[in-house]
């Protein structure tokens, strides 16, 4: 019985004490409301290695600064874990040291009297507020029609922890109510195009920085001091536009005109000069085989050459006389020989005219029987007597040119500027040597084959 009563008494005692503790829930809610009032923000400003870093905190509700609130900083230093009270200034709480730990997680406690009313934990590398840029300078480049902005920052020094920054350049017209135009840059210089600004106006510009990269983070820095610059008038641009437009129009119309002219004169004038037709022997042969022109005389009638000095050539038997000429061997065909007016008795020796390469230039053609200025080149196809016995020679006379259809031994080379004496139609004097006069007059009254050459 006694044991039972003691047990019950203990149970009731425990229940009472536990209910008493649960009553503190109301008090907890009250404390939460108080913590909202003590919200504060902290930022750090890091310097170079070996220099003092700063930590600054301020309450979001600025009226709280007058109260007896203290901020206690713990775990922020490299040495043994210790706590320091932050220095209270007019509007914030401040701490400066070069022994800050950039690895540790710090804790700041808001202390009112003896109780802690709020706290916050953070890493110093995550609440970095860069220093404001300075030495802002603006230069106008006339050639490029733009403004170059350059500025300096302490974070560009070699030993600084925070080297990567993002810069925000803000500008607008000085006395306008328009919003600021913002440009982001990772480098301490930027270019503003003149055409994007109003001419003959004053602009103001300011810059601030933000920690870049992946390691450091935090807040925007303060704005740099504002700098003013004036944009020039812009008449030159308009003149330049007119000149450019005129040049472009002129070039375009010249181009079209040139194309039209080329198309019109291509076939007749331009192509023959740029791409002249090479002489085609087949084409030329066809030309020659056509009927001769009316004003072109190809007759061997001596009456045509009355004005010219003609030297009779009775035969090409004498070697001396032949030396003055290219040696010619006549075919054994009598018909062909008669056409040429040659004696049928020819030397057995076949003197073959070596093929001579002909030039591209055609000598002046014969006009209206005036053969004094003409040269006649006669090609004698040389044939071996054996071949002539076997083959049938088909001779074609085309304007005084003996052509043989026998292709085996035909030396068809024409036109060539050879000068041969015209053989006289005197069959009665076989074997008579050719007069020496023939040699002298070989330059007279020649009609070259090239006169029959026609470029098609």
């Amino acid at each position: 019985m006694t044991v039972l009563s003691t047990t019950i008494g203990i149970i009731f005692f425990l229940l009472h004490s536990s209910s008493g503790e649960s009553g503190c829930g109301k008090d907890d809610g009250f404390e939460d409301e108080e913590q909202d009032d003590y919200e504060f923000t902290c930022y750090s400003q890091l310097q170079g290695h070996g220099q003092e870093h700063t930590l600054t905190c301020y309450f979001n509700n600025l009226t709280l600064h007058s109260n007896d609130l203290e901020l206690k900083l713990c775990g922020a230093f490299m040495s043994e874990p210790q706590c320091e009270m932050m220095i209270k200034r007019e509007n914030d709480y401040f701490m400066k040291s070069r022994s800050f730990s950039l690895i540790n997680t710090c804790e700041i406690n808001v202390i009112l009297g003896r109780s802690k009313v709020n706290y916050k934990s953070f890493k110093i590398t995550k609440i970095v507020k860069p220093e404001a840029p300075f030495d802002l300078n603006i230069t106008y480049r006339k050639a490029a029609n733009d403004f170059v902005l350059t500025f300096s920052t302490t974070h560009s020094w070699n030993d600084h922890y925070v080297k990567e920054l993002i810069h925000d350049i803000a500008y607008h017209q000085e006395k306008s109510q328009s919003d600021w135009t913002h440009i982001r840059s990772s480098y301490p210089h930027i270019t503003l195009l003149e055409r994007k600004l109003q001419p003959n106006s004053t602009y103001e510009v300011k810059i601030r920085s933000f920690p870049g990269g992946e390691y450091f983070s935090g807040y925007w820095s303060d704005w740099s001091p504002t700098v003013y610059f004036r944009t020039p008038l812009r008449p030159k641009a308009e003149e330049l536009d007119f000149v450019m437009l005129f040049i472009i129009t002129l070039s375009f119309s010249s181009g079209i005109l040139g194309i039209v002219v080329i198309c019109l004169l291509w076939e007749k004038r331009i192509k023959p000069v740029l791409w002249p037709n090479l002489p085609d022997h087949k084409t030329t042969l066809e030309q020659l085989c056509r009927k001769p022109q009316k004003n072109f005389s190809n007759s061997f009638n001596p009456e045509c050459f009355l004005d010219d000095k003609i030297h009779k050539v009775d035969g090409i038997q004498s070697k001396e006389e032949v030396e003055g000429f290219l040696q010619v061997s006549l075919p054994q065909d009598i018909n062909a020989a008669e056409k040429f007016g040659l004696s049928p008795d020819w030397p057995s020796e076949n003197n073959i005219i070596p093929p001579v390469a002909f030039g591209g230039n055609s000598p002046p053609t014969c006009l209206d029987g005036n053969f004094n200025t003409c040269d006649l080149s006669v090609l004698m196809a040389s044939k071996s007597p054996n071949q002539q016995e076997n083959s049938k020679n088909e001779a074609h006379s085309c304007g005084g040119l003996l052509l043989s259809s026998d292709s085996r031994n035909s030396a068809l080379v024409f036109p060539f500027p050879l000068k041969l004496g015209v053989l006289s139609p005197n069959p009665t004097a076989p074997g008579q040597p050719i007069n020496a006069d023939l040699r002298l007059s070989q330059e007279e009254a020649y009609v070259t084959m090239s006169s029959f050459y026609q470029n098609k």
Binding site: H49, G50, S79, S101, I103, Y161, E214, Y215
Partner: protein, 201 residues
């Protein structure tokens, strides 16, 4: 008589009893004394090496460069130091880095080196050990003099002017700087090797 003798033998001369007490009270202290006075081995997981790389680039790299420039001492011999004997960066880079860093941390308290050098050593050792989480230096009391070698505590003589230094003190100071220079150079090379190995994995 016989009973008395038997009791005595049981209590004090029995071999099992002797072994029992010796094993409890004798050997553990011996083990503790024989433990090497070095840092505890710590292992770095592969997944943490990327984070360590970032921490090194942003916090340590510049500091080591500045530390080397601060100890730009030309007249150092290339002898081996007893502090670095039996320790190389070949096998386990982290173990060597922690060992040398702990040595440098001890030298922060040496008072025959300039203050800015001491501060740079403190910054480096604190951040290096913070980056290598889980690796700690063993706290050894009373052996700081031996651990530092030439970097020992110079007791301030009240009769002596603070600006004057004896030739012996100057020599010790130079040796201390050379020791620090050697250790900084070795630990820098080992950091690079460790990080390059982590990159290649």
């Amino acid at each position: 008589m016989l009973q008395t003798v038997w009791i005595k033998r049981t209590a004090s001369n029995h071999p099992v009893t002797k072994v029992f007490f010796r094993s409890i009270f004798g050997i553990p202290p011996l083990i503790l004394v024989l433990l090497p006075v070095t840092s505890s081995d710590c292992e770095i997981e592969e997944k943490n090496k990327t984070i360590i790389m970032k921490d090194y680039i942003h916090l340590l790299h510049e500091g080591i460069e500045i530390l080397e420039k601060a100890i730009n001492f030309a007249n150092c011999s290339s002898k081996e130091y007893s502090s670095l004997k039996n320790h190389t960066c070949d096998d386990k880079e982290v173990t060597f880095i922690v060992h040398v860093t702990c040595k440098l941390k001890q030298l922060v308290k040496a008072n025959n080196i300039p203050e800015n050098l001491s501060h740079s050593l403190e910054v480096y050792s604190h951040h290096a050990l913070g980056i290598l989480k889980g690796c700690k230096c063993d706290e050894v009391n009373g052996t700081e003099k031996k651990a530092g070698g030439p970097c020992f505590f110079v007791e301030n003589d009240p009769n002596k002017n603070p600006g004057e230094k004896s030739a012996k003190e100057q020599k010790k100071e130079r040796k201390c700087k050379c020791l620090i220079k050697k250790m900084v150079s070795d630990v820098k090379n080992c950091w690079r090797k460790f990080l390059m190995t982590s990159n290649g994995d």
